[in-house]
Amino acid sequence: MEHTKRKRLAKRRRLAVFSLILFLIFAGGLAAGYLYLSRGPVGSPSPGGGPEAQTEQGSSYLKIYYPVRGYLQMEERLVTPEIQDREEAARDTVTEYLKGPAGMADPAIPPGAKLRGLYFGTNGILYVDLSETFKSNFQGDALTEYLLLRGLYESLLSNVQGITDVMVLIDGRETGSIGGHILADRPLSGLAITNAAGNGKGN
């Protein structure tokens, strides 16, 4: 009788240890998965939710995606003072974006382009009103135009909380296209498709 009881107890203990190990493996997997997924690759930052603008002792870091030689290149920009709200985050993001990538002699960002205003619309759309020079000073081919708009979209979605889409306005109005290749009269999320084919390099 005693022997059976002890055996049952040992069995229960084994089951408990086994369950604990299973739980630990599961929790470890969850943590690893979270860590892996929270690090988005360059060119496809985490969608929607934000804010990803990190703050640090009176200043904030912004992730800005610039079009550089046929690719999007992420740069972290330090802005001071610390970003307080999402409007400030959006304003700083666009301002930093328009400055262009560091140390580039011939940037794809149209020179002289200025931010005129920002409006948070319904359905999570952020309207970015840019000066006419963003359009008139654009000098680029189809890929450059695509990356110019995609970079702005990715930068804003990376740093601004609660937006799901971005719409570009020129001098307060919808514009057909910035450079004649890509429609800009609609929100930019349509451009955020993963490139399934194409080498993007020369042969």
Partner: protein, 267 residues
């Protein structure tokens, strides 16, 4: 026996005639980029300004001439220096139901760039019930007057309205949205053929310009999205690297592109 031979010959001739007739009807649409106040890229060519729109038109006309010389039917979406928006171009080209669509542009570097469209995975709103009022087909520009109506899209694709069975609302807005997506997603069934056409162009340009960089890419291009035919956009090297004032250069390029379209086999 002789009668059978005659019958066989008659059948062969009929097949050839039908093929020839089909070829005669197949149209190639060539879309010279930019135009009017949209000058495209302005290049500095030895202290002189060269606007992309002018070179695009010159190359397009040369391609059209080369194709016609090979017996193809061709039309230019714009044949003069005038502005056309992207939606207008799509409408003009689509009205003629071309068998092949080629948009001609210049690159900003010393390279040929060939693009096919990269399309989002759109789930269309449900169709109106039989006998219901169908909204007239809407061009992208018309629907885009209300950007808020367009659904947000993520990296996984666009959700255009409720999925089938998700409430079954088929109001006029939903139908307009459906028509818009049907219009702007017309390229989808032709994506494979567009890639084949791009590949033919790549091969032909490689042969004609062995030293040049030739790339192929797929990016979201609304103009190509709206074309119900194999459609590609080709960018030729910037004028700093290619002398477009030399008729031999333009003609050689046009021959290579026309040859690719012919060899692609739409004819």
């Amino acid at each position: 026996m002789r009668h059978r031979l005659w019958a066989l010959a008659f059948c062969c001739a009929a097949v050839l005639i039908f093929q020839w007739a089909g070829a005669a009807q197949a149209l190639v649409a060539i879309d010279p980029g930019h135009g009017g106040y949209d000058r495209g890229i302005i290049y500095d060519t030895g202290g002189k300004e060269t606007s992309e729109k002018r070179v695009d038109l010159a190359i397009s006309k040369a391609i059209a001439a080369a194709l016609r010389a090979k017996g193809a039917s061709v039309f230019l979406v714009r044949s003069v220096d005038r502005y056309l928006g992207i939606a207008q171009r799509a409408r003009i080209a689509s009205a003629r139901q071309p068998a092949v669509f080629l948009s001609v542009h210049l690159a900003s570097a010393n390279a040929f760039q060939i693009y096919a469209s990269l399309m989002p995975n759109v789930q269309l709103p449900p169709a109106a019930p039989a006998g219901g009022n169908q909204a007239p087909p809407a061009a992208p520009a018309a629907v885009n007057q209300a950007p808020g109506n367009l659904p947000p899209a993520g990296n996984q694709g666009v959700q255009a309205g409720p999925a089938s069975g998700g409430g079954g609302q088929t109001g006029p807005d939903q139908q307009a949205l459906r028509q818009y997506y049907l219009y702007s997603m017309r390229q989808r069934p032709y994506l494979g053929k567009s890639r084949d056409l791009a590949s033919a162009l790549e091969q032909s340009l490689k042969q004609a310009f062995p030293g040049e960089t030739i790339s192929y890419m797929e990016i979201p291009l609304p103009l190509l999205d709206a074309i119900a035919a194999p459609a590609v956009l080709v960018e030729c090297p910037a004028p700093q690297y290619m002398d477009y004032n030399n008729p031999a250069v333009v003609s050689g390029m046009a021959q290579a592109i026309a040859g690719a379209i012919i060899s692609y086999g739409t004819y």
